[in-house]
């Protein structure tokens, strides 16, 4: 299970262009939802049954007074041992597929039998379609990857901030990148690389990016 695929999201390369956010909508035929401007570039504010990728924006000032703006292309972590799968399967068996070959965690229609409050996810990912009660989230574009293509969000990214590949190579890449980044950003780290397939690299405290960046 630790083989399969992984995605590396290197926030140090991300410019917040939202190509990934829109590419996910485009590929998956998800509608654009109605949002309001509440004083941030980020929209939507969170995942929903129609939004499976959210680029989170967080700005502030560092200790030296210089501004910063962090972009966090949030998505399902496709955990190695997904708490959502474990918690859902307490109610319904076979509602969640964990693809043997890639490790992608994919919900089926059977998830509609689960009470939403019983679904566990430290990253706040799964959402429920209010009409059908089916749970939805990122599928790691399993339809694409099964056909020799890369996920839509990965393809859209211009700077290589989001890349897809064999897990062991991605882990290796993450390690090397963190070592490199630490020269300039001593707080650089990969978030929970052993627990998740979608590994984020940050250059600062993960909480500055998003409260659930490293899980609850």
């Amino acid at each position: 299970m630790s083989n399969g695929k992984s995605i590396l999201v290197d926030t140090s390369l991300c410019t917040g262009c939202r190509g990934c956010q829109v590419a996910c909508k485009q590929w998956n035929n998800l509608p654009g939802t109605k949002t309001k401007q509440i004083g941030t570039y980020q929209n939507p504010q969170d995942f929903s049954f129609e939004t499976w990728k959210v680029v989170r924006f967080a700005d502030g000032r560092q200790e030296d007074g210089k501004p910063y703006w962090y972009f966090f292309s949030d998505m399902c972590r496709h955990c190695i041992e997904p708490p959502c799968k474990i918690s859902i399967e307490m109610t319904v068996k076979d509602a969640v597929i964990q693809d043997q070959a890639t490790g992608a965690v994919v919900y089926t229609e059977k998830t509609k039998q689960v009470q939403f409050k019983d679904v566990m996810c430290p990253y706040g990912i799964p959402k429920q379609n209010p009409k059908t009660k089916v749970l939805t989230k990122c599928t790691m574009c399993i339809d694409r990857i099964k056909n020799g293509l890369i996920p839509a969000c990965v393809k859209a990214c211009p700077t290589g901030a989001v890349v897809f590949g064999d897990r062991d190579k991605i882990l290796d890449m993450a390690k090397k990148r963190v070592t490199e980044l630490k020269k300039t950003y001593p707080k650089a780290m990969a978030i929970n690389p052993d627990e998740v397939r979608v590994i984020y690299i940050v250059t600062d405290n993960p909480k500055k990016y998003w409260k659930f960046a490293a899980g609850v």
């Binding site: 695929k5 262009c17 939202r18 190509g19 990934c20 956010q21 829109v22 590419a23 909508k25 485009q26 590929w27 998956n28 035929n29 076979d94 597929i97 693809d99 043997q100 070959a101 890639t102 994919v106 919900y107 089926t108 229609e109 998830t111 089916v134 749970l135 939805t136 599928t139 399993i142 339809d143 694409r144 990857i145 099964k146 056909n147 020799g148 293509l149 890369i150 839509a152 393809k155 859209a156 990214c157 211009p158 290589g160 890349v163 897809f164 590949g165 064999d166 190579k169 890449m173 090397k176 990148r177 490199e180």
Partner: protein
């Protein structure tokens, strides 16, 4: 790093022209939620692929448009991985170009006319519109045509009709416009390049 991310991962399966089918085992169609999305990949695989260029910022990123052979409608637009500038990537606007196509119900699809004093649009035919517009151009031009300026110098120009636009259309269309406005004798000619 000694190798770029992209070179290194090229083997992981970037989208290539022929959309190679490589099934890796499980038939997921019956179990995955949103079965429609699974059908999309099948449609995209068998679609007619056309290259185009993004209609926004002037980087000129390459696009691949997938057109359903049965319906003739575009069903997917993503980046062209062979394009040397964007290598398949697209920003938010480029990634969303599908919403500029017929799929967007807000597209203007009829010739519309607003009469003087009216608060609504009427649908018209092309023949009607082209004829009526040409008549008005001619009337306004003939009324305001300046053969000479106030100093008696030959100018052969029209100052009561103006043209604006566009940087959003193809070169060949730009040239036709540039030709048309000079032939009409216009001098108020401008567009986004200046602003």
């Amino acid at each position: 790093m000694s190798s770029t991310r992209r070179e290194f991962l090229a083997g992981a399966g970037a989208l290539v022209g022929g959309l190679a089918i490589s099934s890796l085992g499980i038939d997921l169609t019956s179990v995955i939620a949103y079965a429609e999305e699974m059908k999309k990949i099948e449609k995209v695989k068998t679609a007619r692929q056309t290259t185009s260029i993004c209609c926004y910022c002037s980087v000129g990123c390459g696009l691949i448009c997938s057109t359903d052979k049965k319906t003739g409608k575009i069903i997917n637009i993503e980046g062209d991985p062979d394009h040397p500038i964007n290598e398949g990537s697209l920003c938010a606007k480029g990634a969303g170009i599908f919403q500029t196509t017929e799929a967007n119900s807000h597209r203007l699809t009829k010739v519309l006319y607003r009469a003087p004093g009216s608060d609504k649009w009427q649908v018209k035919s092309w023949n009607w519109a082209i004829t009526e517009i040409a008549k008005r151009i001619k009337k306004t031009r003939d009324t305001g045509f300046m053969a000479k300026n106030s100093k008696g110098e030959v100018v052969n120009r029209v100052e009561n009709i103006a043209h604006m636009g566009s940087s959003n259309i193809d070169n060949e269309e730009c040239w036709l416009i540039a030709s048309m406005v000079r032939a009409m004798g216009l001098v108020y000619i401008d567009h986004q390049a200046r602003v």
